[in-house]
């Protein structure tokens, strides 16, 4: 790795984007697969290629980090994965289904059932309490409702704040509500777009700990988009993006627990 902690070209050549034989193989099921995905934006006459034909596979239960600077395309990839946007070309498989072929309704179902989001700016409903924000989601999946909002918020350590409005919560607390909300659905995949971008170190640590712990417990695939490569060790796989392309993939056989990072 070079100074920027980016993989050098030679290292890229070495790396195989498939499983490396040196790592003892765990029995992992591929859950997500990107095939030659391209995303273009038009604003008037200006074309922007956010993704330039990327390919990767993500396995169930993994913690994956999409790394890159602003404008690299990582958020774009996340958005496509999350069904928030549609690819210009290429195929995206989630649990065996090509979601690029989904119409609006199916996309909605996908978003509802399979994925959960955590945003950089929390995106809580300002006019609802923390509890209501979580209940909102619980109502969506009545069949799956095994836990209730209070429990979920307790899980994220907000037992005393369940009746507060987002404006009355700190950034970290809001993000935790957001997590509770995302987890309430018991999704297969959890997306987090710069989840700690607006938080301080300590809170970042807490939030990350929570995320990792919960996902590992429930075997949820977690994909984090960040530009902060300080936290990359916690992931199982790290994809680096630059100018719309994946320039490296790093696998961690032994991901570092969050608390053990040099905060």
């Amino acid at each position: 790795m070079n100074k920027d902690n980016n993989l050098t070209n030679s290292e890229i050549e070495v790396l195989d984007l498939e499983e490396t034989p040196s790592t003892p193989k765990k029995k992992k099921k591929p859950i997500i697969k990107f095939e030659n995905v391209v995303k273009e934006y038009h604003t008037g006459e200006v074309y922007t290629r956010a993704l330039n034909g990327i390919n990767f596979t993500i396995y169930e239960g993994d913690i994956v980090i999409f790394l890159g600077t602003s404008g690299a395309g990582k958020s774009t990839a996340l958005n496509l994965l999350g069904g928030l946007d549609q690819a210009t070309s290429g195929r995206i498989f989630v649990d065996g289904d090509d979601i690029t072929k989904y119409n609006e309704n199916k996309m909605l179902e996908y978003r509802r059932a399979k994925v959960g989001y955590i945003f950089q700016f929390y995106n809580l409903i300002q006019t609802l309490t923390a509890k209501d924000n979580v209940e909102l989601v619980l109502e969506l999946c009545k069949k799956k409702k095994k836990s209730n909002a209070e429990y979920l918020l307790e899980q994220v350590g907000l037992k005393d704040r369940i009746n507060n409005y987002p404006s009355q919560l700190s950034g970290g607390e809001q993000q935790r509500v957001s997590i509770a909300r995302a987890l309430a659905k018991e999704p297969r995949i959890l997306f987090a777009d710069e989840p700690t971008g607006a938080l301080d170190y300590n809170t970042t640590r807490q939030v990350l700990e929570l995320l990792v712990k919960t996902c590992k417990e429930k075997n949820i695939t977690l994909i984090i988009v960040t530009h902060n490569n300080f936290i990359t060790p916690i992931a199982d796989v790290v994809y680096s993006f630059r100018s719309g392309e994946i320039i490296s993939k790093v696998e961690n056989n032994n991901p570092t627990p969050v608390g053990e990072l040099p905060w």
């Binding site: 700016f121 809580l124 409903i125 209501d132």
Partner: protein, 1125 residues
């Protein structure tokens, strides 16, 4: 599946946007309220009148007959008509009646409690039962006549003319306060009065009313069609019936005439016969005259006669003479003898009379002395006691006196008596009892005797007097004596005459003089006869003339009868339906107007509502983009997210509708009633809750709300979640028109350029603001224009067009001199400036099946412009009258599509139609007028216009009543109408109409507030990030405010331009819609009103812009600047 939490969120959402929410409710309330209100008002009014006319069986068809109709005619007519429910006759008469010194036109009606058609509604008091009772209308009651008042109705139709007011009623024939027209006086009926039918001394009804057995309801097309058919049937039936009757009458009349003619001839013959006798008499006398004349001897004849006297003739005459002498002597002897006897008798009688008289005198004296003696004796007798006193023992107690029989003592007055033997001294008896007074008894006998004597004397006297009377009668000359005397004298005369003849026979001169004397006698006789004959002839002629004159009168009558038959036409009958009733017809057109207003105005309201809701929703969507994106990301369906906004819109509409209903069902209709009470008499107030209109109004509002919400949402929801999560993509800057004009552009300051650029970038926002502000200005301008139009009408009409101060109607005078004299007096009065004699008539015209009233004024020369200023309705140039046509008022022309050169058709009271050529159209605002000069009048109507009106201009200060009184005192005037009073009456009406319009103006102002509030809210909050950025960059609050306000001002200016144009168009449309039939609203949008609405808009906009100030100052920078980029 609705997410409960989202519903909860909706509540919070509404709370967060409560001000916009309320503004929206207000807008919906206004729109729904006004629409429902106006529609229901017209329905309520219609309902009220329908109920009234149906309850009171307002006639379906009315027949007015030239010569009236009788009861048996009616029952016969009924058999020729079908489906008749009721058919009744009634008496109607228009009279001019003087009440308290002023003349009024009163229409009399007959009241019969058994009548079923046109029954009257009793408002106060009771219906007339007796002939000296009557009931009055509300108008008369308002003018001060009360139940219990006595009025005198000078109508030859009534038996009893002095009537007591016993009640106040309302008749379905008079829905409007304007009681309709008459041929009398000024042509307007002042009051109507009902009298007892029994008080009418005629058997001939003047009107016939029919009510049909039909299910069709008034005011509907079905009813109109039905009645049209029935009118035709009635017309034929009535005219057919009267044709037959007419023929009967003609035949009868002819028979009468024939027999009358025969009688005439017989009479004439009789008269002629009568006079033949007299004529014969005259003829006889003439013959006698001629004979006598013949006997007059001419000198020659006398000569002949003298010569013809012979001896034998003489002897004859002599013998005659001797005989006559004998006769004479005999007669004398008889007479003398008789006379002698008679004279003896007379002297005997005279003696007797004298003796009797002597004796009578003696008796008188004796009677007198005896009477005096008798009186003295009687007096004495009375003073004597019946009894002599007896002993002194028989005294009575003091205070008591002895009774006349001396036996008792009595207290004066006879109250108590006691036996005198218990006398004073002889209480226990004693004393001698009284004895009868013998003197008294003797005196009585003397009295009696004397009385007898007197009586006998009187009897004797009486008989002597009687005898004398009859004796005196005998003294008068006996008729027998005089008849003997006459005989003697006649005989003497005859003898003397004969003697004369005989003597004269001796000499020819004597004879000649005798004959001449005879001639004279004969001549005297002749002249006497001549006199008698001429007198007789004169007498005969006079008698003849008199007799013939009688006959002549009869002859003329027959002639007239024949002429009448020749000229008699079938009695005309006129068939009317309800629409021909002035009040009813006018009412129908008025409720149409209200109903039309109900459609036009709410359209604008709904339009604005659509825009406002769209703007609000757009803003809210913009503010919640992030949230929407999040929810979509979470997996919540579009519909579920959308529901929040739908609930917001729909709930505001529902609440607004409900409040609007209260306004529309109760407040507005009552207000409209209040306004129309100036024109109509409502017997009660019907307030309907009409579900249909409520549904329509709120339905439309709901559709508008849902549509605008969905349209706005669709735009947003189309976007992918990812773009929603980011800020809205700004469109490219499009260069505006202004930038393409470098000269203009370069002069502007930077901030202005920014403002302009901003405006044109956000086209939708720009459009909404312009339409919002413009629309409200348009509404306000419309309201003001309508209001000005209504209120300016009166001063313009009565100040600029009618320059007259008073309208005076002349009595129906036959003498031109008295009219001129009286007019001179009026013009000489102190406060009178000038006057113009003219003619005034009222006519009707048909318009769309309704009857409209037209005033006609005829001038005698061109100098009328000081009194009535006629100007062309387009060019405002003065109009002149010529001999070839008329000038008509503006509305009349536009209603009937008549242009100069066209024809206007008028009908008079007898329904005769006249076509007049239109030579000019004059500006006019109130009622309809036709003006012409007397030459054209004569051409058109075939007779000279009568001078029945004097237009007056006054000067100085004066008391109206006093001046009217002075004018009345000239005795040529029947009515004085002050223009100021008519003006005031209309002013009241107009003020009420203006109130209705005021409601509209208030509505539009409220709407403006709601709209402006919303707009500014939206504009500012949509740009929260922009504003926050300015502030963060370091712009002062005032600078930021000025940037935004500049934009608003520019938008406001555009809005004003748009508003003025839209307002102008809308004003004209609304004014035309609101107009009632007989008024011509001023269709101008005045400069003043434009200025007012512009200034008001500017003020309101600037006032609401203050909101911007507070918003900018209070904006939460961090919140606004947060975004997901």
């Amino acid at each position: 599946m609705v997410n409960k939490v989202l519903i909860k969120e909706t509540k919070n959402f509404i709370r967060k946007n409560i001000k916009t929410y309320i503004a929206q409710i207000i807008i919906v309330t206004l729109g729904v309220g006004f629409f429902v209100g106006m529609k229901i008002s017209s329905l309520d009014l219609q309902d009220t009148m329908t109920e009234f006319v149906e309850n009171n069986n307002f006639y379906d068809v009315k027949v007015n007959l030239e010569y009236g109709i009788e009861a048996n005619d009616i029952s016969q007519l009924k058999t020729t008509l079908e489906e008749v429910k009721y058919i009744e006759g009634a008496y109607t008469q228009d009279i001019v009646n003087n009440l308290d010194g002023e003349d009024y036109v009163i229409r009399l009606h007959s009241y019969n409690s058994k009548n079923k058609i046109n029954t009257t509604k009793l408002i106060d008091g009771e219906n007339p039962k007796n002939n000296n009772e009557c009931v009055i209308d509300k108008k008369m009651q308002k003018d001060g006549y009360e139940i219990g008042d006595e009025i005198t109705i000078e109508s030859d139709l009534l038996k009893e003319k002095k009537l007591k007011i016993v009640g106040v009623i309302q008749s379905p024939e008079y829905l409007a306060i304007d009681r309709g027209n008459s041929t009398l006086l000024s042509g307007k009926i002042n009051y109507y009065i009902f009298v007892n039918e029994a008080n009418v001394n005629s058997d001939i009804y003047s009107d016939l009313y029919i009510k049909y057995d039909t299910n069709s309801v008034a005011f509907t097309e079905m009813y109109d069609d039905y009645i049209e058919r029935k009118e035709i049937e009635a017309t034929y039936a009535v005219s057919g019936y009267f044709k037959d009757k007419y023929n009967e009458i003609i035949t009868d009349q002819q028979i009468k005439i024939t027999s009358a003619k025969a009688e005439y001839e017989a009479e004439k013959a009789k008269i002629d016969a009568q006079f033949i006798e007299a004529e014969n008499e005259i003829k006889n006398k003439e013959e006698l005259l001629n004979d006598t004349k013949k006997n007059i001897l001419t000198d020659k004849q006398i000569e002949q006669k003298i010569n013809s006297i012979s001896d034998s003739t003489r002897n004859e005459e002599k013998n005659k003479l001797n005989n006559l002498k004998k006769q004479m002597n005999n007669a004398k002897t008889t007479y003398d003898n008789y006379k002698k006897n008679y004279n003896n008798q007379i002297s005997n009688t005279k003696n007797k009379i004298n003796n009797n008289e002597q004796r009578i005198r003696e008796l008188n004296t004796s009677i007198n002395s005896n009477t005096a003696k008798l009186n003295a004796m009687k007096a004495q007798y009375n003073s004597m006691n019946d009894y002599t006193q007896g002993s002194t023992n028989n005294k009575c107690y003091p205070g008591f006196s002895l009774s006349s029989d001396g036996k008792r003592c009595c207290y004066p007055g006879g109250f108590y008596c006691y036996n005198a033997s218990f006398g004073y001294n002889g209480f226990f008896g004693g004393g001698t009892s009284p004895t009868i007074n013998a003197e008294k008894v003797a005196l009585k006998a003397e009295i009696n005797q004397l009385e007898n004597t007197i009586s006998n004397q009187k009897i004797e006297k009486a008989s002597l007097e009687t005898e004398n009377i009859s004796l005196r009668k005998q003294l008068t000359i006996s008729s027998e004596l005089s008849s003997y005397e006459n005989k003697y004298l006649n005989a003497k005369k005859q003898y003397e005459e004969q003697l004369e003849i005989y003597n004269s026979m001796g000499s020819s001169s004597k004879l000649s003089s005798y004959y001449k004397k005879q001639n004279n006698e004969l001549r005297k006789t002749v002249s006497q006869y001549e006199q008698e004959i001429s007198a007789a002839k004169t007498d005969l002629n006079n008698k003849k003339n008199a007799a013939y004159q009688q006959l002549e009168a009869t002859r003329l009558e027959i002639q007239n009868g024949e002429d009448m038959i020749k000229t008699l036409s079938y009695p005309k009958s006129y068939v009317f339906d309800r629409k021909d009733n002035a009040g009813y017809g006018q009412f129908i057109s008025d409720i149409e107007k209200i109903s039309n207003l109900a459609i036009v105005v709410p359209i604008v309201f709904y339009f604005i509502t659509f825009f406002m809701i769209s703007a609000s929703i757009n803003r809210m969507l913009y503010e919640e983009r992030n949230q929407i994106g999040t929810l979509k990301a979470i997996g919540i369906r579009d519909n579920e997210i959308l529901i929040k906004y739908l609930i917001y819109s729909i709930s505001s509409v529902i609440i607004g509708s409900f409040i609007g209903i209260i306004v529309g069902v109760v407040i507005l209709p009552l207000f409209v009633y209040f306004i129309y009470e100036m024109l109509y008499e409502f017997p009660f107030y019907n307030l309907n809750f009409n579900f249909r209109y409520f549904l329509i109004a709120s339905g439309i509002a709901l559709v508008v709300a849902i549509a605008s919400t969905l349209i706005c949402c669709k735009e947003t929801f189309k976007e992918k979640p990812v773009s929603l999560l980011k800020a809205k993509q700004e469109k490219e800057t499009v260069s505006s028109i202004f930038e393409k004009i470098p000269k203009f552009w370069n002069h502007l300051s930077l901030t202005t350029k920014i403002s302009l650029k901003n405006i044109f970038r956000y086209k939708a926002r720009m459009l909404m603001t312009i339409i919002g502000i413009g629309g409200c200005l348009a509404l306000m301008l419309t309201g003001l224009s309508l209001r000005t139009s209504i209120t300016e009408m009166i001063p313009t009409q009565y100040g600029k067009i009618f320059k007259v101060d008073a309208q005076i109607f002349y009595k129906d005078l036959s003498s031109r001199e008295s009219l001129n004299e009286g007019t001179e007096k009026i013009l000489a009065l102190d406060n009178v400036n000038k006057g113009l004699i003219s003619n005034y008539e009222t006519y009707t015209s048909d318009y769309n099946g309704k009857t409209i009233n037209i005033n006609s004024v005829t001038f005698y020369d061109d100098n009328f412009s000081d009194f009535i200023d006629l100007r062309d309705y387009k060019t405002n140039k003065k109009l002149k009258l010529d001999d070839d046509g008329v000038i008509i008022s503006e509305k009349l022309a536009t209603m009937n599509n008549i242009r100069v050169g066209g024809v206007i058709k008028l009908k008079d009271k007898q329904q005769k139609e006249y076509s007049l050529i239109v030579k000019g159209i004059a500006k006019n605002y109130i009622e309809h007028y036709v003006y012409m000069n007397s030459n054209y009048y004569t051409k058109a109507f075939g007779q000279e216009p009568r001078n029945n009106m004097l237009l007056l201009k006054t000067k100085g200060n004066y008391d109206e009543l006093e001046l009217a009184q002075k004018i009345n005192d000239t005795n040529i005037v029947s009515q004085v109408l002050y223009v100021s009073i008519a003006e005031k009456a209309y002013e009241d009406v107009m003020n009420n109409l203006a109130l209705l319009v005021g409601v509209f103006v208030v509505f539009s102002i409220l709407l403006i507030f709601a709209v402006l509030y919303n707009l500014i809210n939206i504009n500012v909050r949509e740009r929260s990030k922009e504003i926050a950025t300015y502030k963060v960059l370091g712009f002062k609050n005032s600078k930021v405010i000025s940037i935004i306000k500049r934009e608003n001002i520019i938008l406001m200016l555009f809005g004003i331009i748009f508003g003025l144009i839209a307002g102008y168009i809308l004003s004209i449309i609304v004014i035309k819609t609101c107009e009632v039939e007989n008024l011509n609203f001023i269709k101008e949008v005045t400069f003043n009103n434009c200025i007012i609405s512009v200034i008001a808009t500017i003020i309101f906009t600037l006032a609401f812009s203050m909101l911007i100030n507070s918003y900018v100052k209070k904006i939460n920078l961090t919140e606004s600047l947060k975004s997901n980029e």
